[in-house]
């Protein structure tokens, strides 16, 4: 230890905090509020997407509230992972398993998030411009079995990472310190994990149980509008 020197304390605590706010808060909103509207059908979902896309300074919000914090949390997280030395084979205790699980769920969630952001936000139909196509755009992915499984994996990984992350946050920041209190909080976090996963699965089922919405038609219509006519 280099007593009282360096910046790792600040970075490490920012890493811990960023996992709760804004990244965790966003995940909460994304799964338990926005995506849950999919259970109300394409119209309800489109309303929510239009509302989010219509927020003032939406790109600034996305950049500083979602993308950069996730990027920081992930990259600094990999750095933490790289410096630690997992030893569950020698010491297979629950806490030690959770320590490893926190790293593996992190990387699964990261891979999923990068792909999901790319396909939903940066390729295909722009849902900020055409919120009505949102339901169908998600459907086109979740009807594909492989992608559906990727969705489920991403959901479980992110939910676990966040739920156990709340517990870690409270333990490390000295918010919940006693053994019994920590046990109680663990039960709460576990319940929260099931609520998040359950809500996510319910939304995914909603997408899969309705007929495919016509994004293709919207897309070709869009193409017709956006491609300059050949002269």
């Amino acid at each position: 230890m280099r007593a009282g020197q360096g910046h790792s304390f600040l970075l490490r605590r920012l890493h811990s905090l960023s996992g709760i706010i804004p990244v965790g808060a966003f995940l909460f909103e994304h799964i338990l509020i926005s995506n849950a509207t999919a259970t109300g059908g394409p119209a309800a979902y489109a309303r929510q997407v239009r509302f989010l896309g219509g927020l003032p300074f939406v790109t600034v919000l996305e950049l500083f509230g979602i993308w950069l914090p996730i990027l920081f949390h992930s990259l600094y997280g990999f750095y933490i992972w790289w410096r630690g030395e997992s030893n569950v084979t020698d010491y297979p205790w629950t806490g030690n398993w959770m320590y490893s699980a926190q790293r593996w769920t992190g990387i699964i969630a990261f891979a999923y998030i990068v792909w999901h952001t790319w396909t939903m936000r940066f390729s295909g139909i722009d849902l900020h411009l055409f919120p009505g196509a949102a339901f169908g755009k998600v459907q086109a992915e979740v009807f594909h079995t492989g992608l559906f499984l990727f969705y489920v994996a991403g959901l479980i990984a992110a939910s676990w990472h966040f739920a156990y992350g709340i517990w870690l946050f409270c333990a490390k920041w000295g918010i919940i310190t006693g053994q019994k209190a920590q046990k109680r909080l663990l039960v709460l976090c576990l319940a929260f994990f099931f609520v998040m996963t359950g809500a996510g699965l319910a939304s995914l089922t909603a997408f899969r149980s309705r007929p495919q919405q016509p994004t293709a038609r919207i897309r070709s219509a869009l193409k017709a509008v956006l491609t300059p006519p050949k002269t």
């Binding site: 280099r2 790792s8 020698d90 806490g95 959770m98 320590y99 333990a171 490390k172 000295g174 310190t177």
Partner: protein, 250 residues
Amino acid sequence: MADSKSVLFKIRRQGSPHTSPHWEEFSLAWHPGMNVISSLMEIARNPVTRDGKPTTPITYDANCLEEVCGSCAMLINGTARMACSALIDKLEQPVRLEPLSKFPIVRDLAVDRSVLFENLKRAKAWVPIDGTYDLGSGPRMTMEEQEAAYPLSRCISCCCCMEVCPQFNEDTGFVGAATISQVRLFNTHPTGSALKRERLAALMGDGGIQECGYAQNCVEICPKDIPLTRSISEVGGAVMKQAIGDLFRK
């Protein structure tokens, strides 16, 4: 030896910090109540390997032989623990002995654990009473305070908690659970708390308390059952409060 039970040992040996390690096997006659240290003493009395080759006695640290001095920690069948309280009857055979893996090797099973002493010094883990005149008796501690402090005071500086910590290595320079727990002990001591701010500030440095990943191995392994994760949480909270306070006041 054929009729009575024998005990088999596999011991990792290394002549000096710079030579490469090798394994030697030993076979001892079983007798009741033997432990790892008493076995090493027997080997020292007759340093001959299992296949009859004379060798040197095995170097190891030990002193109290009753799990209070903390010097005999080593890897026994792959797990960090005190050799003097490791009863042979409760171990799987062959009994595999290795030096702790995260500390510089001196020779055979003896390692240099001065990093803990250095960290305790950096964190000022003592009660400051040096002075030129008699300070008189210290302030009284309530029964409750005593009961919270006593378990922490049982640390024997064995370094097991650091050996098993996934975050403790040269890269992180992590201070380890023992020192953090000692900070809690001395910060809650009425006279020791004079250095509270300095101790917490020390733990904010690189390799400080933030490096803990809360894997909780330390609290599982500690031979003295010290509530280490509780200490990490309590001190973590105190460090955080001080850090945020400093943001506004410093």
